[in-house]
């Protein structure tokens, strides 16, 4: 409940999971392949995680392991974790992994997440501290949300350090007003 208002948590819950219905359900339009508004036992439907999770707890569906955590991804991460495009797979790779791991009973997801994060973290941090701003934007497109936050934190700490060394104006325009200066009429 602590994360009730958390935007990232809400978006993580929207990830699609493939489920197989163990019980039939009527009066709902969630199965696009069905002609009636009724889901039969054994039909395979893709549901957002928030729905799949609750239904699974009531033994109405069984979850499949999402494609973002399949064998292919595992092999790619083992080969060179820093170059895997995790964002296109799932922008909340780690958070979603933590949520799904206990539900599908796959023991190897946990170690996969840990090893991926450890090796990518080092890469993210070095790039954030050293790379020039323009050169780095290419690397940003493969990072997950969590890693992007880390990257930005590292960059802003670097910028703050430089500012502290060089000195600068203490007061600045409130950031909410945007960077663009108002056009002079």
């Amino acid at each position: 409940m602590a994360k009730y208002y958390d935007i990232d948590d809400i978006i993580t819950d929207e990830e699609i999971v493939a489920v197989i219905f163990q019980k039939s359900a009527s009066g709902v339009g969630i199965d696009p392949s069905s002609e009636t508004d009724c889901v039969e036992v054994g039909s395979k439907v893709e549901l957002p995680f928030w729905l799949a999770h609750e239904l699974q707890q009531r033994q109405a569906v069984s979850l499949n392991i999402p494609t973002s955590f399949n064998q292919n991804t595992r092999l790619e991460i083992q080969a060179d974790s820093a170059c895997v495009d995790l964002r296109s797979r799932c922008p909340f790779f780690y958070e979603f992994g933590c949520k799904i791991a206990p539900l599908v009973g796959a023991r190897n997801i946990g170690p996969l997440l840990l090893s991926a994060f450890k090796s990518r973290y080092k890469e993210v941090l070095t790039k954030a501290h050293t790379a020039a701003f323009t050169a780095a934007s290419k690397n940003l497109t493969i990072l997950t949300k969590e890693e992007t936050n880390l990257y930005e934190a590292a960059q802003s700490s670097m910028a703050a350090f430089k500012k502290w060394r060089m000195g600068g104006p203490r007061f600045q325009k409130a950031s909410i007003l945007g960077r663009k200066r108002k056009s002079t009429e």
Binding site: K23, P48, L51
Partner: protein, 197 residues
């Protein structure tokens, strides 16, 4: 898919930069509310159907039960998305008063809904009355300055302003030597900039 629109609304919040407001999307908001009413109707009709068949709604686990459950869960999810949308915006609005002061610039005002404007006014009123009771301006810079006066350049025509006991004409591009506390609100609103030697 159920709950998709509500999530779109939340994603809109996330797509903006941190701490920046996006325009209030009343259109999508109303669509989600309409979706909620639809879920509510279907939920009721399923429950009614079960009651007509003479089943115990509490304990039966048939197809109608799971259908109703899905509608219920979708309602809860939509509610969470709508609440998060309002809550996170309210948080930004509350922070505005500390950053730009009690008067909202036009460019921010047009992003707010009517109720949000009301909320801002009441919140800033509460803060003002608290500060006047304390007899202390809490919105000024927290770090004690080395020099109580600073050099500023005016970026936009502000006009004649009365401060302390004298009036000053802040014409555009003019430079002034001001008390820090007087200059602060103009700088945060983007009307002046601090000059450093």
């Amino acid at each position: 898919m159920y709950g998709r629109k509500a999530c779109q609304l939340v994603k809109e919040l996330a797509s903006g930069e941190k701490g920046q407001l996006t325009p209030y999307n009343s259109d999508l908001f109303d669509q989600v509310i309409a979706e909620c009413s639809q879920h509510h109707l279907e939920l009721q009709s399923l429950i009614r159907k079960m009651q007509e068949e003479g089943l115990d709604v509490q304990t039966t686990r048939n197809a109608d039960h799971y259908g109703a459950l899905i509608h219920h869960l979708s309602l809860v999810r939509n509610k969470r998305c709508l609440m998060a949308y309002m809550y996170n915006r309210a948080e930004i609005i509350r922070s505005l008063i500390w950053k730009v002061g009690p008067v909202l610039p036009q460019q921010i005002q047009e992003k707010l809904s009517h109720t949000e404007e009301e909320y801002f006014k009441k919140h800033s009123g509460a803060l003002q009355s608290y500060m006047s009771r304390l007899d202390l301006d809490l919105t000024v810079d927290m770090v004690p300055p080395k020099d109580p006066y600073i050099q500023v350049r005016v970026l936009d025509d502000i006009g004649v302003v009365l401060s302390d006991d004298k009036t000053t004409n802040f014409a555009r591009h003019s430079m002034h030597f001001l008390k820090r506390t007087d200059a602060e609100q103009f700088i945060s609103r983007g009307l002046m900039e601090e000059l450093t030697s």
